[in-house]
Subunit: 304 residues, 2 copies
């Protein structure tokens, strides 16, 4: 995953990952009406709304970005139909050459983690291997320690897939646990050290590990300190745009080659049409493309 | 959830929750053969195996236990078909009067947490409310702090549902983060304090909150200390049996009325037939019932 991601960032000159996190409120009226008419007030209708919405955006932006990150919760709330839309979105994005990061934030003990690792490793039934989820990488939660991560590392090495483990999240309450001081340093530094250590077990060929870290854009000083602390760990950076993070804040999240991070924006891109006075609702994907280009230019200004 | 759970524990005189965590290796050969013949080497075949297996066990033990806890990872690895089996297992268990704890360990920031809260709150589509997952309670991960928990608390109050938040897990690596010292106390104590505080926002009527804690059976001293630290927090206790926890260790996890915890066993019950020389493979559910009765007697010995 990580080599492919770095190469795609270089090719597009754009470290943007588009968060495919649709909500019902975000769906343009003409799509809503069509699906409600066809499928009624059902989870299937919403699933089809999300799919049509995502596909139109992917069609418009796929050659401008390296990666998309669907947030599984948005789909999971609509049950099996919602999750079908999640899987079909992944398949569609992969067919367009995008690196797909499944934002699943799973985390459990050894035997259970081995089952969750099916997200990136697939599953075997009587000797037949099948890749039912197809993510290139997934996000994970570190609270349960190494035995909850280990089965995923095997999958990284066996299938060239990747992980992004929560270290310092972008939300306001993240600090309640993550910023507690342990031996004079915040807990997220301890998490960072574990993630770095685990990362050595699955190095890519371009200086970064298959095991990355989630480091929010909204805590600039901490992010810069973590960049120094974890030189071989690629960062997935949420919190840009709608949550308040700015490109200027991210200048020192990049390494000296302008590499090392991928920056997520969700609402700011996929719902851009709701704030863009130059487009009609039917042009929602065009608005997303404009937002991607603006974000690319914004980030290029600080990539050095 | 919590009042219903306490009443069911009193009625059955049994604080056992059966972990419905089937694995392929656990399925009796006669079920495997039937499903492979009918559905081929497909996720649907495995889903049907899990369903038949779970239903037979539920039929046999439902009047002896208060609750079951399906681990979603075991189903999720088999994709949408697997998750269908998860949902149908929940529906079946609820129809038999059991309290269902979905072991999902989700955790994310505010807006995403609101989507995950659909597990216990259901979802609304154009004014039509539907409960697609149906869990009475779910497990959650606290790493992202309160804004990741808050949307679930609303669901607890609106729909009388519950949560069990990871505090001190039963696995060996849990200590890597959870036992780090913060102000001279382990991190899990800080988590415990947060969970207690959050718990006040959704109290049941019998002295315990809808917001419980996951506290492993495998760290006895810590569990006993946490019992004192969190007097109004119900404990979901994993780690009994296969992971090494014993009833004797749990004596002081109970409150003075012999209440306050529910103890999980998964493999030790549902795969009991593989170690029970008195039963045939076809009697796997009978073996599960025997294991439930043995566990009940074991726990009653320390419930004071």
């Amino acid at each position: 995953m990580i080599d492919q991601l770095i190469n795609k960032i270089k090719a597009t000159q754009n470290p943007t990952v588009v968060g495919l996190d649709p909500t019902y409120a975000m769906i343009p009226t003409f799509i809503k009406e069509e699906m409600l008419e066809t499928y009624g007030k059902t989870p299937k209708a919403v699933a089809e709304m999300f799919l049509q919405f995502n596909k139109a955006i992917i069609d418009e932006v796929h050659d401008l970005i390296p990666s998309v990150k669907p947030q599984i919760a948005m789909y999971e709330q609509y049950g099996l139909e919602g999750l079908r839309a999640y899987i079909e979105t992944i398949a569609y994005a992969k067919a367009k050459g995008l690196v797909v990061i499944g934002d699943v934030k799973r985390g459990d003990i050894a035997s259970t983690a081995a089952a969750y690792a099916g997200h990136i490793a697939g599953v075997e039934i009587e000797g037949v291997h099948m890749d039912l989820w197809q993510e290139d990488a997934v996000t994970l939660n570190p609270y349960m320690g190494f035995d909850g991560i280990e089965p995923f590392i095997k999958a990284c090495n066996d299938y060239h897939r990747g992980l992004f483990i929560l270290v310092k999240t972008s939300n306001p309450s993240g600090k309640e646990l993550q910023d507690l001081l342990v031996d004079g340093v915040p807990l997220y530094d301890k998490t960072a050290d574990l993630v770095s250590e685990w990362g050595e077990l699955a190095m890519g060929t371009m200086g970064y590990s298959e095991i990355g870290a989630v480091v929010g854009a909204t805590y600039k000083e901490q992010g810069i300190e973590l960049r120094k602390r974890m030189p071989h760990t690629f960062f997935l950076v949420p919190g840009y745009g709608a949550q308040g993070g700015k490109a200027e804040d991210l200048k020192d999240y990049f390494d000296k080659d302008g590499n090392g991070i991928i920056v997520n924006s969700s609402r700011g891109i996929i719902a851009a049409y709701q704030k863009d006075k130059e487009v009609t609702e039917k042009e929602f994907a065009i608005a997303a493309k404009k937002a991607v280009l603006a974000m690319r230019d914004d980030l290029q200004g600080v990539m050095r």
